[in-house]
Point group: C2
Amino acid sequence: MTASHATPAHPDALTYEQAGVNYDQVDPIKLLAQQSAKATAASLVRHGLSEIVASRGESAYVLDAGPFYLASIVECLGTKILVADAVYRETGKSYYAAIAQDTIAMAVNDLITVGATPLIVQAYWAAGGSDWFADKKRASDLIAGWKAACDTCGVSWGGGETPALAGVVEGGTIDLGASCVGLVQPKSRLSLGDNLAAGDAIVLLASSGIHANGVSLARKLAERLPNGYQSDVGDGQPFGEALLAPTILYAPVTEALAKAGVTINYCVNVTGHGWRKLLRHTRDLTYRIHTVPPVPAVLSYMQREAKLDNAEAYGTLNMGAGFAFFVKSEQAEQTVAIAKACGIEAWVAGRVEAGSKQVIIEPIGVTYGTDDLKLR
Amino acid sequence: MTASHATPAHPDALTYEQAGVNYDQVDPIKLLAQQSAKATAASLVRHGLSEIVASRGESAYVLDAGPFYLASIVECLGTKILVADAVYRETGKSYYAAIAQDTIAMAVNDLITVGATPLIVQAYWAAGGSDWFADKKRASDLIAGWKAACDTCGVSWGGGETPALAGVVEGGTIDLGASCVGLVQPKSRLSLGDNLAAGDAIVLLASSGIHANGVSLARKLAERLPNGYQSDVGDGQPFGEALLAPTILYAPVTEALAKAGVTINYCVNVTGHGWRKLLRHTRDLTYRIHTVPPVPAVLSYMQREAKLDNAEAYGTLNMGAGFAFFVKSEQAEQTVAIAKACGIEAWVAGRVEAGSKQVIIEPIGVTYGTDDLKLR
């Protein structure tokens, strides 16, 4: 890595630690939780079932249910809700439909990485008080956005939980999460990376902006800006509203690829840790990127204003790439065409090579190595 | 209903509305959400699948996945965490393992009502800040309790989400939730009440105390008591710690019943709304109760101190009955015996009769009618 997050290149740079996220405090406990979780899989034997061991540490958990695999996940929106709350307070503009789509995207975009067709979404909406739901505009926008996102992904919204949790959730806001269940069917669609190999093409799909990761940094930055969320990001859009562009839902693409017979060897949902996520798979392989997508205005603006060098920016934010497919090189162009047919810009952006585990982003001269991503 | 929650029988009585829970504000939006959710089921057709319509409004959502039914749910612990936090602050005693069991119980005890074998649990642990996990005792107790509860239920802990959400979740606490996925296999185990009929026996299973419902009332009451959570509930136990008896996990009983060939016509997880939950099924039937279980000390204490009459107490709290099975009368005693073999006290407590939709609790002279429970 040409620059680390602990020692920012620019003395005024806003790091993720300064933004209040301390991965060091979370990680040892996360590890203990992962080890304890792993040990519980033994219970499945009594039901005549088994887990797919390789799915632990991946973005969704996979169970072998016999005729097909069963994938499941729970995810949360995180602090992006606070941006929507601030914009609503300052301008009266409701972005709660967008926020609903973000929440579903957090769950569905992770679930599809293992090759699952998402089928059921459950809503987890924990408000700071019953009064959150008394604002009919806000609440009905949330519902409308949730329904529309379910329809886009072809999932049934099964139900959920809408507790009022004063004292646990801050007053005036809401903790949004979603669980998602899907089936990998036929089983050959399982894309845990077993066939990921040197020679594979890396296809990147466009993001719409920040999606829902890197938001703590954006919020910290807004505090520093004289005009806060009203600051023009350069294309006339205020910072707050630009941040609230909803996360792209990639499920229509994975379904279209399956239908077209494209084999996905592996997927990465580019979320926290930005492009360092491309190192997600355990295998020692080199990911060489020759093309980077255009950077959404809101992310260029953030990079400039937070004084992040390229290594910091691409290591934290999606920088225009929201999702990555690893496919056989002969199916790369078809993958791009199918994504475009789904209305999502895409690029054959690089290739997988034999070599040590690293991501080399040639156009910007940045390399991330194994020390830069510890997710397991 | 002999007394409503809007007009408490005793002038000093502590109602649920006074405790900060306003169902009126939540319900119209809940209804809109339910209608919107229902409309999304049409998407399943494109996958060649369909939902079990009758599962909407029940405690878990059921999909017909072909060879078996797939059930899923997301649930949260709610404000019981604040009791654990208070006791930890006041005494240094950690009840975070108990709280973990409560959270899993909220999800698993609901999931099993439809006849599903719970298979996968995902953890949703949203902390008010990264520092929540820096207290190793608290965090490792949470993990240990979570793992133990998974082992008791025979589920695999698939993974989860442990975000630090300063600004969304209150500092110093954590929003705990769980999603659960299970299979109904064979399909004949589906217990959505199609065969619920006059003549069925009602078997009640013991609760361990308050479980995780009615906690807002308990917290409000603690504020009124001179010794707060340190008040003796009558058996030497301090109120706070008595409240933290973990919710009983009923999954071993449903699995044992299935193994023994007992057919469960319907189940009710007695949570919010107390015994009014016995009215859950849509059918017009009368539920006549001739035996009430012994009331745990903590609940007798709450009833007395909050000055609740029996209609209020049984309509809000579980009063010693945490779960109900509706079975053919000839299998009632066997159901009790199997629950006891699982270490859970149980009683043949009543019967289902033809008649208007009501619960008649004879030993205490309380009747609840259809106006008393609007969950759909």
